[in-house]
């Protein structure tokens, strides 16, 4: 169950990225007309299927006042392919030019109410949640017809409300520590 609802402010965070630096909500949102927090990971097939589309959306809109971070909150003990070292190599492999952050305590994922990977939270320049859910309507790119995330970014950058504002996040469950 989401703990940040449409219209709510983002929950603050300060997390270590694969670049070795700490990145905060303020870093992400400052001077931006829209920004997204995407809960992701290294191994989930849904992430792997959707990842290029998420990265593509960033590449399209980064020059228009949009920024994005991926956050991995998965338990690295029971899921070692989701540990920090694998995050570093995965980010390099995908050529990520935005921060990929490690939510080691899982507090950020908990504060957002994130449950799945990938799960998109898109905020406007006031820091209010405007879109929450899936990147589009099908993890199979050949069957996807509704680019929810791309459309939402475009709407928010124009100062408009995305439609739909919320879709069910589809993907692997976040791997919580026991």
């Amino acid at each position: 169950m989401a703990k940040i609802n449409i219209g709510d402010q983002s929950s603050p965070f300060s997390l270590k990225g694969v670049d070795g630096k700490v990145h905060s909500l303020a870093d992400l949102s400052q001077g931006k007309d829209a920004f997204a927090v995407v809960f992701s990971c290294n191994h989930c097939p849904y992430v792997l299927a959707w990842e290029d589309r998420l990265i593509g959306a960033y590449n399209t809109y980064a020059s228009q006042g949009f920024d994005m971070v991926f956050i991995n909150a998965n338990d690295p003990v029971n899921y070692p392919t989701d540990d920090f070292d694998h995050m570093v190599s995965h980010a390099q492999e995908k050529g990520m030019t935005f921060p990929y952050l490690h939510d080691e305590t899982q507090e950020t994922a908990t504060a957002f109410g994130a449950e799945r990977t990938p799960e998109v939270f898109l905020f406007d320049k006031e820091g209010m949640l405007r879109y929450h859910g899936a990147p589009d309507d099908n993890s199979d790119e050949t069957l996807a017809t509704k680019p929810y995330f791309r459309n939402a970014i475009a709407a928010v950058l124009k100062g408009e409300a995305p439609e739909p504002a919320k879709t069910p996040a589809a993907g692997c469950t976040i791997k919580w520590k026991s």
């Binding site: 097939p45 299927a49 392919t81 993890s139 199979d140």
Partner: protein, 114 residues
């Protein structure tokens, strides 16, 4: 022919994969018993060498043995590769049908030898 369908509740792809398996059986006309085996714990996953959900064994052999080796053992969603190289949470229908037909050929060959 005996098929084991291994699945984990928390991975949402298992229903889609089961439907694909049923479609493949229908298309090939192959008769098989399908046993659904829910994997519920890390311990069970370790015992079964479970490479993620869903996993399909046809007469004891993984649908995609090479792909299974690429996935860590445990309670997670299995990563499949489609014929065009894209990642998918479920195997391609044509992969399932090919594996069923190969298993059938092997059965027939074994029966012929006996």
């Amino acid at each position: 022919m005996h098929i084991e369908f291994h699945w984990w509740e928390d991975c949402p792809s298992h229903e889609q994969a089961y439907n694909l398996l049923q479609e493949a059986l229908s298309q090939t006309g192959i008769q098989a018993t399908v046993e659904r085996i829910e994997v519920k714990s890390h311990e069970e996953a370790a015992t079964l060498r479970f490479p993620g959900s869903p996993t399909i064994h046809i007469n004891g052999i993984d649908l995609d043995p090479a792909g299974a080796e690429q996935n860590p053992v445990g309670l997670s969603c299995r990563v499949y590769r489609l014929p065009d190289g894209r990642f998918s949470p479920v195997p391609a229908l044509e992969i399932i049908t090919s594996a069923l037909q190969e298993a059938q050929r092997k059965e027939q060959a074994d029966n012929g030898e006996n």
